[in-house]
Symmetry: C2
Subunit: 471 residues, 2 copies
């Protein structure tokens, strides 16, 4: 419960219509894209500009009330669930493209802008912003920055981090800071820009971003390759990179995913394949054609059962549908879908998929795996039922083993979804006690009273490390 004086202050800052504490608003902002996590905030505010964000933070820091900034809440790590109550700040009113600088190829945008709206707008002007998280039709640029979102084009073009040149942000104290600028190079002190990207709303509230745009590729080709042998598919991934081709997209689906996707989208996929690779190359037409032909040869050498190259953009879209519908198709199977993003060096993909399958068998749970093979960023996805605590317990144990396996293979617990609540107990496995201690120190510098998105990134307790026998 907020103190009446604070409520009055917040209403005064944003106006009565942009402050809500009715049950509907509190329930609507008690959860996000992550299954099985819910906690009600005390209020919801909708600021119109940076000055309001700053005034809100000053008020909240006086009362030491938590602030959870959020875009559309499409994250999958519980990143915007208000576990300690407080005020949810929805950034949707701050959704403008403030400036498009065609000479410097930069855009200055507000955090509440929907990513796909931004991409559509600049693509119409012949520009390109590569980060394309699957959530981009609903997620916001601010949310993408908070989580350092990836996407299907990450292998060739990098992730959100690689396109943020500068930020305006509000500290817990209400102070407004500005980092970077329209600058391709800036080494004036520690890189606060890159520190804020991926900091999950725990260090500052992002109120504006300067983004780097690049020239768009002139053409694109799309192909699907089917494999009866998982290792053949995995070797193909490595062989493509070893052949010094970096495709724009290099996606993977395992057999359980293929079956579910085909049942959902009726694509006529061969159900006896162990793996499908979806591969796209973009760039100049000559280069694209040559790369696609070389990739086709590599697929055949690695015993692909068949390779389809889309002849038209429509056919390409049909091939893409297979990968794009993976999550939706899996989500139909059972009441609860838990999508994870353990990541390994790309050479370890086949090992990781086999480990995931062994772990699923061990705990008797259903896990299908798809993801960004070129990045080693896999999405093992459990279909389960949140109403069955015993099964959920087994699913959680399975994911714990999956995180441990990823780390054993030289990987990480999260490639693009963030730590949030879900991975917090495992963060120490990746970064060690000294990594945690440094990160906590940084948190204290930015937010000494821990009012920014409390309960995220840092767990009260690290899960006891399971020592795996296999591998």
């Amino acid at each position: 419960m907020l103190e009446p004086a604070l409520i009055a202050q917040l209403r005064d800052i944003v106006g009565d219509t942009h402050f809500r504490d009715d049950p509907e608003a509190l329930i609507a902002h008690s959860y996000d894209g992550t299954p099985m996590l819910q906690a009600k905030p005390d209020a919801v505010v909708y600021p119109a500009n940076t000055e309001q964000v700053s005034a809100i933070m000053k008020a909240l820091s006086t009362y030491k009330v938590p602030l959870i900034s959020r875009g559309s809440g499409s994250n999958l790590c519980g990143g915007t669930v208000p576990v300690e109550g407080g005020v949810v700040m929805v950034m949707h009113r701050m959704n403008q493209i403030l400036e498009l600088d065609m000479e410097n190829l930069t855009a200055r945008v507000q955090p509440g802008l929907i990513t796909a709206d931004f991409i559509n707008h600049i693509e119409a002007l012949g520009l390109f912003y590569p980060p394309d998280p699957s959530s981009m039709r609903i997620s916001t640029i601010g949310g993408n920055i908070a989580e350092c979102s990836g996407g299907l084009r990450g292998l060739k073009y990098g992730t959100t981090k690689d396109y943020v040149l500068g930020l305006e942000a509000v500290l817990a104290s209400g102070e407004i800071i500005r980092t970077g600028g329209k600058l391709m190079k800036d080494v004036a002190g520690y890189d606060l820009t890159k520190l804020l990207v991926g900091s999950e709303g725990t260090l500052a509230v992002i109120t504006e971003a300067t983004l780097k745009l690049i020239p768009p590729p002139q053409s694109k080709m799309t192909m699907l390759a089917m494999f009866r042998d998982l290792y053949g598919a995995a070797r193909t991934v490595s062989a493509i990179i070893e052949a010094k081709i970096i495709p724009a997209t290099l996606e993977f689906m395992d057999n359980p995913t293929i079956r579910v996707v085909d049942d959902f989208a009726k694509l006529g996929l061969p159900l006896d394949m162990e793996a499908i690779l979806l591969i796209e190359q973009d760039g100049d037409p000559e280069t694209v054609e040559r790369d696609i032909e070389l990739i086709r040869q590599i697929c055949m050498r690695e015993q692909a059962d068949s390779v389809q190259v889309a002849a038209t953009r429509e056919e390409a879209e049909r091939l893409l549908t297979a990968r794009r519908s993976a999550f939706t198709a899996l989500a139909r199977l059972r009441p609860t879908t838990i999508l994870e993003d353990a990541t390994v060096p790309r050479s370890k993909i086949a090992d990781m998929v086999l480990r995931i399958n062994e772990i699923a068998t061990k705990y008797n749970v259903t896990i299908a795996t798809f993801g960004h093979a070129g990045d080693g960023n896999l999405h093992p996805t459990a279909t389960t039922d949140a109403r069955d605590p015993e099964e959920i317990h087994r699913v959680e144990q399975a994911f714990e083993d999956i995180f441990a396996a990823a780390l054993e293979l030289g990987g990480t617990i999260t490639g693009e979804h963030g730590v949030g609540i879900v991975k917090a107990p495992y963060l120490e496995w990746k970064v060690g006690a000294s990594g945690i201690s440094l990160m906590k120190g940084i948190k204290d510098v930015f937010d000494p009273d821990h009012i920014l998105n409390p309960g995220k990134v840092f767990a009260k307790e690290t899960r006891k490390r399971v020592v795996l026998q296999h591998g």
Copy 2:
């Protein structure tokens, strides 16, 4: 003066031959590539491995003695001058390529490895590591990481930061931390890897780096364009980017630089030109040829006096000589050469060059400007005489005005050289009091006793901001 017990400990850790406190060693490590800065350390150590670095740090932190880690000391910001005494740690013995992973296209290297040696080694294997600071024949990978070095290929390929995937580093306490990995994506907690890159040895001693390699471009073409009008050259830079061409290299030299370079290298350059652009494109042969032709047309449209496209690699090397010899040629003119790196949005290059010329006239000093036009990263270079305090004072005033002008144009005080001692009084101009306060907080987290490279990045006092009237 170090305490005898500490000296004994250090000798014990590295062995007698790798500990030195004779006058020759102390003098040799009292300065770096930066003019007019000198301060003797108390000792010099040459560790062989991470364990020795850790043991040294433990000893030094017990005695609260400063540690300045250094590669070849080629930096231009006074970054490795031991201004508060202490121990200089030379990383040259730790100079191995520990692993080249052809499947993941990564290299694991030690910090003392000479950058050009690394590049030559991997290029012979058909791989590519783009960061190419002008110092690369003597500078080390560790030094490049500490300073986040740029280079001529930064426009298209980014800087050192974009190629560091993971680090091993030793904290002030002696604790060894590991960040990132052979991973294209990793969002497990705050990005300590990118925080350490460019932290100038003030947060930790880097003992190992995992670097990203990429496929090399298949071909490259080189051209020179001469302009009688500075604005024509500047408009060409913006027009190339606006035409959605990102050249591999897009370098600029002003008239004073042209004159000096021609006198030095006898290239027959036209001395009445206001600017020369050196442009390179790399990639697939068809793309390169098309881009170079488009760039040639843009140059002509912007009233270039002449455009030369190198027909052979030898001719390209001759054109490159002009830009490569800029610093050496300028350094012959007067006893002291001070090379700066104020950086602006690329659309502001002509404005910035004119400002520099006005400022040079105002203070009656000689400043020639060349640099990475595509990045907006200019190197205004003063030729002066350190023995003339009155002239040096005017040069310093001129640079102060130049930094202020860069900031007025939306730029920064350093694009690739770092803050060190030289820019420390100006850092607050760029990042503000709150930026300084956050950075000092981060410093305290990593190095609470301030024994890592003390006196760098943070100045005791910020220079009073000069309010400029022009512009």
